[in-house]
């Protein structure tokens, strides 16, 4: 069972093959609590797989019913109705209509609706009857709704809908058991099928409103707390201030909280290296293991603490309901450059690393919004550029105070981050006017009620993100590390006489005009695995031992070896730095197109070249 899905999720051509067991699809509007129910029923053991063509995430898990039936459960993207305008919704509807080529039609649907949102969610339930699959309506968060004062006649609702209606609170066992029992009954009597004639949406809405009048006896006004919190968080002034504050704390934490755990990871890597050095003879094998695999994979794993902290913030903000407010606050600004407010989250994640950022872009509904977001994600200064910036700035800019209180080095660093953001705005704007031209995706986004996040769900989410990151480090980066090791270790015994050195000599004429010398070009080659590797490579070229730890030593050497314009050009190059292979690989997977991927690499390369060249020429002319 697990092996089947394992195999499938790595094989892009055949994702999520439905097995022979009874398959149930989870359907419902966004924010109806579908994922909580999924985690509750499957124990959180899910295989996340990409759907071919469009990379929309569908999760699949399995469980056993009290009647002893093994069932598989598919969590589909949220849908409000049957129009399927967005990539997400299309996938969901294709699956339940049996039109998905990769998967047979599920045997039944669990339609999840929020008991506190019946007036709008009944509309979704009514539309789903038109699909013609056996279905069960799960009346979710019923405890919460009752506590708020919602009173409803569930028997009447069941009679009028003509399908089983199970009151449930997805986080509680009793409710989930009732759902399982209902599934048992449904599986035993598969004839319990409904097929309602298709009707125009307007008519369905009227029916839903009528049904609502008949079954909901009492419904209190909207959550007071949420309204007063929105008065602060969405306020034109205080809302923006709080938002800026949260972002500031988040960035500070990603960098400051991660220092200690990153030290641990570093220690672990050094420990492993020592062990290997102790048990292997001093030959190519030791070099492959230590300099190639441990150093290469280690240089990426080191970012695990930062990624976990970043996702801790993102998941927390998402689960509390604040993330939708952040998108609200940013929407108009982002719309002006052609992006959707919801692209804010992926772009924010890209400051840690473009890879989780591009993956987070899956939440964007419009394909064009998603492509634009992925294309500009590498322009957000990722954390791997930080070591490079740090070394060069320390070498060429004195730590003096300017304008009374600003630290010059900090100011340069800020300028580099800012340059990335400005270029992202320009690129997004140009793309939206040309290649991803089209009608702006509407905002139309539910702002969920504020709530305190469920701790176990938060941890589960973190664990899933960490697993994805580590798996990548164990596969793509593992292979790339070996390749780069071969390039730098052979055929000669020094970097200059290695393949990397030869590649450097070949590429030198291309980079010479923008002020790069042979040493820089050689360092750029291993920098393709992970950008910060360039620091270590510069150390190797200039024969500075342990350059990562001994940044002062390297800075001193660079100061005498490079001209100031060259240093500036190198910094400008790194603002765009198209050379991280893992980013390119993930971009290819997420966009599912080589054309777009090459375009991304090409424009990044062109901008890096022009920026570095321009900086070099102007700086040379001025000096």
């Amino acid at each position: 069972m697990t092996t089947v899905i394992e195999k499938i999720s790595t094989d892009q051509s055949k994702p999520l093959q439905a097995t022979d067991s009874f398959t149930v699809a989870l359907v419902g509007a966004p924010n109806c609590g579908k994922s909580t129910l999924f985690n509750g029923l499957t124990g959180g053991r899910a295989k996340v797989a990409n759907y071919t063509g469009v990379t929309v995430e569908t999760k699949q898990g399995s469980f056993r019913t009290p009647g002893g039936r093994q069932m598989s459960l598919i969590d589909l993207p949220g849908v409000y109705g049957l129009s399927g305008k967005t990539a997400d919704a299309k996938v969901a509807l294709d699956v339940i209509r049996g039109q998905a080529s990769e998967m047979r039609q599920p045997d039944a649907m669990l339609v999840v609706i929020d008991a506190a949102q019946l007036r709008t969610h009944l509309q979704t339930a009514l539309q789903m009857r038109q699909i013609g699959l056996p279905m069960i309506v799960v009346l979710n968060m019923v405890d919460l709704a009752r506590r708020d004062g919602v009173e409803l006649d569930i028997d009447k609702l069941q009679a009028r809908l003509g399908v089983p209606v199970i009151p449930c609170t997805a986080t509680r066992k009793a409710g989930r058991e009732a759902v399982l029992n209902a599934l048992d009954e449904l599986a035993a009597a598969p004839s319990a099928q409904v097929a309602v004639e298709a009707a125009p949406l307007k008519q369905v809405q009227q029916e839903a409103r009528q049904l609502f009048q008949d079954v909901v006896l009492q419904e209190p006004a909207l959550n007071k707390l949420t309204r007063s919190l929105d008065g602060i968080f969405l306020h034109p002034l205080s809302g923006l201030l709080i938002f800026t504050g949260i972002m500031f704390v988040m960035f500070q934490s990603v960098f400051s909280w991660s220092e200690t755990p990153m030290g641990w990871v570093e220690g672990l890597i050094a420990f492993l290296s020592d062990i290997v050095v102790g048990i292997t003879p001093d030959n190519w094998l030791r070099s492959l293991l230590v300099d190639g695999i441990i150093a290469g994979v280690g240089s990426v794993i080191i970012f695990l603490p930062q990624i976990i902290i970043l996702f801790l913030f993102i998941l927390f903000l998402e689960m509390t309901g604040y993330m939708a407010r952040a998108a609200f606050l940013m929407d108009e600004l982002m719309l002006r450059v052609g992006l959707n407010g919801r692209a804010f989250i992926p772009l924010l994640s890209s400051f840690a690393c473009a890879i989780p950022g591009m993956m987070a872009a899956r939440t964007l509904e419009s394909e064009k919004d998603r492509l634009t977001t992925i294309m500009v994600a590498p322009l957000m200064t990722c954390s791997a550029r930080l070591p490079v910036y740090t070394v060069i700035i320390a070498a060429f800019f004195p730590a003096e105070t300017v304008a009374g209180f600003l630290n010059l080095q900090g100011l340069v660093m800020f300028g580099l981050y800012f340059a990335g953001i400005i270029s992202a705005i320009i690129v997004a704007f140009v793309l939206r006017k040309t290649l991803t031209k089209g009608r702006a995706q509407p905002l139309l986004m539910e702002l969920p009620t504020y709530k305190f996040p469920d701790l176990s769900e938060l941890l589960l989410g973190l664990w899933q993100r960490a697993k994805i990151f580590l798996r990548r480090a164990g596969t793509i980066i593992f292979v790339v590390s070996i390749v780069l090791w071969v390039l730098t270790a052979y055929p000669g015994d020094s970097l200059e006489t290695s393949f990397a050195g030869m590649i450097g000599s070949v590429l030198l004429p291309v980079f010479e005009p923008i002020g790069f010398n042979l040493e820089i070009v050689i360092a750029l080659v291993p920098g393709m695995a992970a950008r910060e590797v360039a620091v270590g490579a510069l150390g190797t070229v200039y024969a500075v031992q342990g350059a990562e730890e001994n940044m002062d030593g390297l800075a001193e050497v660079l100061r005498s070896a490079w001209s100031f314009p060259t240093a500036l050009a190198f910094l400008a190059w790194y603002v765009f730095a198209p050379q991280c292979i893992s980013t390119i690989a993930v971009a290819r997977r997420e966009m599912n197109s080589w054309g777009w991927t090459w375009l991304m690499v090409a424009y990044l390369f062109a901008m890096a070249y022009i920026a570095a060249g321009g900086t070099y020429w102007i700086a040379s002319a001025l000096m």
Binding site: Y80, L237, L240, G341, P442
Partner: protein, 80 residues
């Protein structure tokens, strides 16, 4: 011809009843209907965005939905 009142015309805190959708954009009407706007529903303008009073957070029955100004212009309302 008098301009019909739309959700965009309601002031912060004001409540209205949806009477229909502006007829020039069928795609937008369907999008709005799908997320839950329908004739007879109560809407209330809660908050405005910081730049040009858009987007708008709107209470639709017991749900809060963020809509842009141009989307709000497609929803016809009468003052409650």
């Amino acid at each position: 011809m008098t301009e019909k009142l739309t959700l965009r015309n309601l002031k912060r805190g004001e409540t209205g009843i949806v009477t229909g959708f502006v007829k020039n954009d069928a795609i937008r009407e369907e999008e709005l209907r799908e997320i839950g706007f329908a004739e007879g529903d109560e809407v209330q303008v809660l908050e405005y965005g910081s730049f040009g009073r858009t987007p708008i957070s709107v209470r639709l029955n017991r749900t809060i939905i963020a809509v842009r100004a141009n989307e709000a212009q497609s929803i016809e309302v009468s003052r409650a």
